[in-house]
């Protein structure tokens, strides 16, 4: 084995209380390390990460003129930075430190002391040999553009935008629908407080519109994202609204004046339960209060023949503009918060629930509109034939906790099903049956809410609904809609129950947006198994992504209720703020780099980079790595067919020396 020349190495093994020293003889390993080439001081210490432990490093660097440090302790994820900082304070390059993980990779997973002592010696030897070849490295700094982009104008995006804007940052809030508000705007009351969703949401929507630091672009979509942390260039497409936002005063007279005297087209906001005109506003409190024209429905835009009564009434304001074209805006932002929300589970995917087949089977979101005072029925819960239902069933977990559909619990359905049970009972005095698998009421005030509603005289049937079918196959002569029978095994009494109801409500779960995969690609982030966006760490970095500078808020990351969504939006905003206020971003130097003279320009590395950090430079006919995007994963380094990509901190010599050290026993 080659020696370590004149390099002077200090070796330290941590007891970590009894985590490490409880199994292996740390003094023996320190003694062994002292015999390795270049090691001039080898010590064991109770807690290397403590202040005295770090002081020990610093003092030894001075006393022994140490040039390299090896610390055998826990995972580098925990304390690599600690020891690098200590080395830096001691006056040597922080990247001259190598850690040996003898805890997570050692004493925590082994119980044979003798075996583990031998393994620790191998690992220590590998690190001592490796650290010899370490090169001094420097962190580079990238400036951060202070503006921020928030994608999605639901409650998450709204809350994050207001938080950032209140802190003095300029926010671009991009929403693909004609108004902000998201799903929350469609809800009637919210659990567990039963306060009116609109009453708490609309003031925040108005505040967004009025805020001087927020540029609100509704009816707009992100088209392209380039760049990297602190320096994103984003192209936003502003779809043609055909009503000029700057000129419109929100009088809504154009809608009134439309040649269509009645609504003719399904109203998306009301889940198709009412009709709207080609020129419309989703709901009265929409922000911005500017109508939008559907070009596929408007007679002028579709056929070119219309009396243009809307233009006439708008008169001098001239806000209606049939010539409007989509507009592309390019913006520079330092951070991005994704708050793109969820899609409710499509109930037609489970045919035996009869949604779309029986007119009295509704989804929960449809019910939200039905019970809402500004909804299609003015808040009255009525069947399509106009009757008030006398018996209503609510099915929990529709599409959730089901291996055929979505495996996850959608977290909000139990509580919103209880809420709907309360609201429907309050409005109709109907007999209510809730079919549930397990009643899940975690979170503040949720169990109390459950207890309150369940004492209101509703029937809670524990059982998954197996079938829904008509009570009678004969058509009613009076135009009435027949009852459906809900069949389920009541697992508490061990009986099959068949309950005829007038109305069936399906509590559909939450799932990722249909285009979540496209969004994921565009922003270069990852998705979890179910397709929700993946956070960097489920506990310790829940709003960060693996792409620096891009944060997550709300249900795009996973099902959650409004309080959690708002809390997460606040967290995402403060992460983004912390980034922006720092002004610069430090890049870890363990990046890959291309040796330009050696690169043959074969392009093999380019599609492999998970961070799209590599580009082909036509003028040089060579590949080039953007250091700010590189995460040091090493994929390109390993794959470069001509060995022309190298990586700081993972140079061939470092790796080969480490392997040699590890296998020296053989």
């Amino acid at each position: 084995m080659k020696g370590n020349g004149d390099i002077r190495i200090g070796f330290y093994i941590c007891h970590c209380g009894t985590n490490i020293a409880g199994l292996i003889d740390v003094a023996r390993i320190a003694e062994y390390a002292g015999t390795l080439p270049g090691v001039v001081v080898a010590r064991d210490y109770k807690y290397m990460c403590s202040d005295p432990g770090q002081d020990l490093l610093r003092e030894d660097i001075a006393a022994y003129h140490l040039m390299r440090i090896v610390v055998a302790s826990c995972s580098p994820l925990l304390h690599e930075q600690t020891f690098r900082r200590a080395a830096e304070k001691g006056g040597i390059n922080p990247y001259f430190v190598q850690m040996v993980n003898i805890r997570e990779h050692g004493t925590w997973v082994h119980d044979d002391a003798e075996y583990m002592t031998g393994k620790a010696m191998d690992m220590v030897r590998a690190a001592v040999l490796r650290v010899y070849a370490h090169q001094p490295l420097e962190r580079k700094q990238v400036p951060i553009t202070p503006d921020v982009l928030i994608v999605g104008g639901g409650i998450a995006g709204i809350h994050a935008a207001l938080t950032m804007a209140d802190a003095g940052k300029h926010v671009y809030l991009v929403e693909r629908e004609p108004t902000i508000g998201g799903h929350m705007a469609q809800f009637d009351k919210t659990f567990p407080t039963l306060d009116c969703a609109a009453c708490i949401l609309t003031p925040k929507m108005t505040a967004v519109k009025a805020h001087p630091n927020i540029t609100l672009w509704t009816w707009s979509e992100v088209e392209k994202v380039d760049g990297f942390i602190g320096n994103f260039t984003v192209t936003v497409k502003r779809k043609a609204r055909y009503v000029d936002e700057d000129l419109c005063v929100g009088c809504m007279e154009c809608i009134e004046a439309c040649i269509y005297k009645q609504g003719k087209f399904p109203d998306e906001f009301n889940m198709g339960l009412s009709k709207r005109k080609p020129i419309f506003i989703p709901f009265p409190q929409a922000v911005p209060p500017v109508p939008v024209i559907d070009p596929g429905q408007c007679l002028h835009l579709k056929k070119g023949t219309c009396k243009d009564t809307c233009v006439e009434i708008c008169a001098d304001r001239k806000a209606i503009n049939f010539e409007q074209e989509p507009e592309y805006k390019e913006i520079e932002v330092g951070a991005i918060i994704l708050a793109t929300g969820f899609t409710p589970f499509d109930a037609t995917r489970i045919p035996y629930y009869g949604y779309g087949k029986y007119p009295n089977v509704y989804t929960a979101l449809e019910l939200e509109r039905l019970v809402n005072a500004s909804g299609p029925t003015g808040g009255e819960v009525r069947l399509p034939d106009g009757r008030t239902p006398e018996r209503v069933a609510i099915v929990h977990c529709v599409g959730s906790r089901d291996e055929h559909y979505n495996r996850w619990c959608s977290r909000v359905c139990c509580m919103y099903s209880m809420k709907l049970a309360h609201l429907v009972k309050e409005k109709t005095h109907a007999e209510i049956f809730n079919f549930y698998i397990d009643m899940r009421a975690p979170g503040k005030s949720m169990e109390e809410f459950y207890n309150r509603i369940s004492s209101e005289g509703i029937h809670l049937v524990r059982g998954r609904v197996a079938d829904v079918y008509p009570e009678t196959l004969e058509k009613k002569t009076n135009g009435q809609i027949g009852r459906v029978i809900v069949q389920a095994e009541d697992t508490l009494i061990g009986r099959i129950r068949k309950i005829p109801v007038d109305m069936l409500i399906l509590s559909t779960g939450l799932q990722p947006r249909i285009d979540a995969e496209e969004i994921r690609r565009m922003f270069n982030i990852s998705c979890s198994a179910g397709g929700f966006f993946l956070e960097r760490h489920p506990k310790l970095a829940p709003v960060n992504t693996f792409t620096d500078g891009i944060f997550l808020a709300g249900t795009c990351q996973g099902p959650k209720d409004i309080p959690d969504t708002v809390a997460q939006a606040g967290a995402a905003a403060s992460e983004a703020l912390a980034l922006i206020d720092r002004g610069v971003f430090e890049l870890e130097p363990n990046t890959a780099y291309i040796m330009e003279d050696d690169c043959s320009g074969c392009k093999s590395c380019i599609p492999l980079c998970p961070y799209t950090a590599i580009a082909f430079k036509e003028e040089k006919q060579k590949a080039e790595i953007n250091e700010a995007l590189c995460k040091g994963c090493g994929t390109c380094v390993a794959s470069c067919p001509s060995g022309s990509i190298r990586q700081h901190l993972f140079e061939d010599e470092e790796i080969y020396r480490e392997i040699r050290g590890l296998l020296a026993y053989a």
Partner: protein, 333 residues
């Protein structure tokens, strides 16, 4: 004998193509002969082993050895030439990397001998006679060299000063090497006397290589009509160009055939086959294991494709017979 530099040429396990490549210098060979004395060249001139043994140590300026080392005779000869030569140049893929004969390291000696002398369909050998290292006949003894267990590249047997790559090397590389030798402008010892950049750099089809190959299946060169202008990899034909040292003037690609890797890897690569494999495997247009396997199965002979010239010196090296496994017991147990 004159004072001109003395040059030797020798062949080991090779096909003779490298010898041909020397002749391919055409009229330039006259300049070479003018400048040097060729003192040993079994394929062309009548010198014997005893003549070499009689020379002073290091008296030969340089010896170019082609072919891999398989037999005891080859080993003895290269050791002798090493002693007698100031500079040893491994000439051609077989001496450089093990070459085509090196692919025999996929089999052990017994498998090879049994096939060649018993099982091959064209062999009639009911007595199962095999070559013996010594045989007495009519009172005299005839001997044959020992057939070693593996094929080795030249530098796995003796110390090598320089390498001229190629199967066979191009006349241009040979000429440049001889010039460097005569003018004393050789680079540091151990250098491969060819550019240290992959073939794509000089490939006339470079611009047509897409960033993402998305290979849906591989084609063998004889099975398709390859477009003469498009990157062969983009056509699903395994081209070793990205993982192979350039300097050959892309002759195969200009002949509408893929690079098979004869120049070996660049100096920065430890294992040429592993490198092209990790790069190509990432270009397979499938995500599911079954689809990946089905695409990769369109390469019928992976070792012959990716390790055609470099098996002996690669990380794979050779077949380890079952009996030589030591098993996976713990070293600390």
């Amino acid at each position: 004998m004159s004072d001109k530099p003395k040059i030797g040429l020798y062949w080991c396990a090779s096909c003779g193509g490298c010898e041909e490549s020397v002749v391919d210098l055409a009229e330039d060979i006259l300049d070479v002969v003018e400048a040097v004395d060729i003192i040993f060249w079994p394929v062309a001139m009548d010198f014997k082993r005893a003549d070499v043994e009689a020379m002073d140590d290091r008296s030969i300026t340089a010896t170019l050895i082609n072919g891999a080392v398989r037999t005891s005779e080859q080993e003895e000869m290269v050791r002798l030439l090493r002693r007698k030569s100031a500079v040893i140049i491994a000439y051609g893929s077989c001496a450089h990397l093990g070459g085509i004969p090196g692919m025999a390291n996929q089999f052990d000696r017994e498998q090879i001998l049994r096939y060649v002398y018993e099982d091959a369909p064209t062999v009639v050998n009911d007595e199962k006679t095999r070559p013996a290292t010594a045989h007495r006949f009519n009172g005299s003894e005839a001997t044959l060299p020992v057939f070693h267990a593996t094929v080795r590249a030249l530098d796995q047997v003796i110390d090598v000063d320089y390498y001229i790559p190629g199967c066979a090397p191009t006349p241009a590389l040979l000429k440049a090497a001889v010039e460097a030798l005569l003018t004393g402008t050789l680079p540091p010892k151990g250098t491969v006397l060819a550019p240290d950049i992959a073939l794509c750099d000089e490939c006339p089809r470079k611009e047509s290589k897409p960033e993402d190959l998305r290979i849906e299946r591989f084609h063998r060169p004889h099975a398709v009509m390859a477009d003469p202008d498009t990157c062969l990899l983009a056509q699903g034909i395994v081209c070793m160009g990205p993982a192979t040292r350039g300097g050959c003037e892309a002759l195969c690609v200009k002949g509408n055939m893929p690079c098979t890797g004869c120049f070996g890897p660049t100096s920065r690569v430890r294992d040429q086959g592993a490198k092209i494999l990790s790069s190509l495997a990432a270009s397979v247009a499938a995500d599911e294991e079954a689809d990946i396997i089905s695409i990769l199965s369109t390469i019928p002979d992976p070792i012959g494709t990716f390790y055609r010239y470099g098996l002996p010196g690669s990380l794979l090296r050779k077949l380890l017979s079952q009996s030589s496994w030591t098993g996976g017991t713990s070293h600390h147990a």
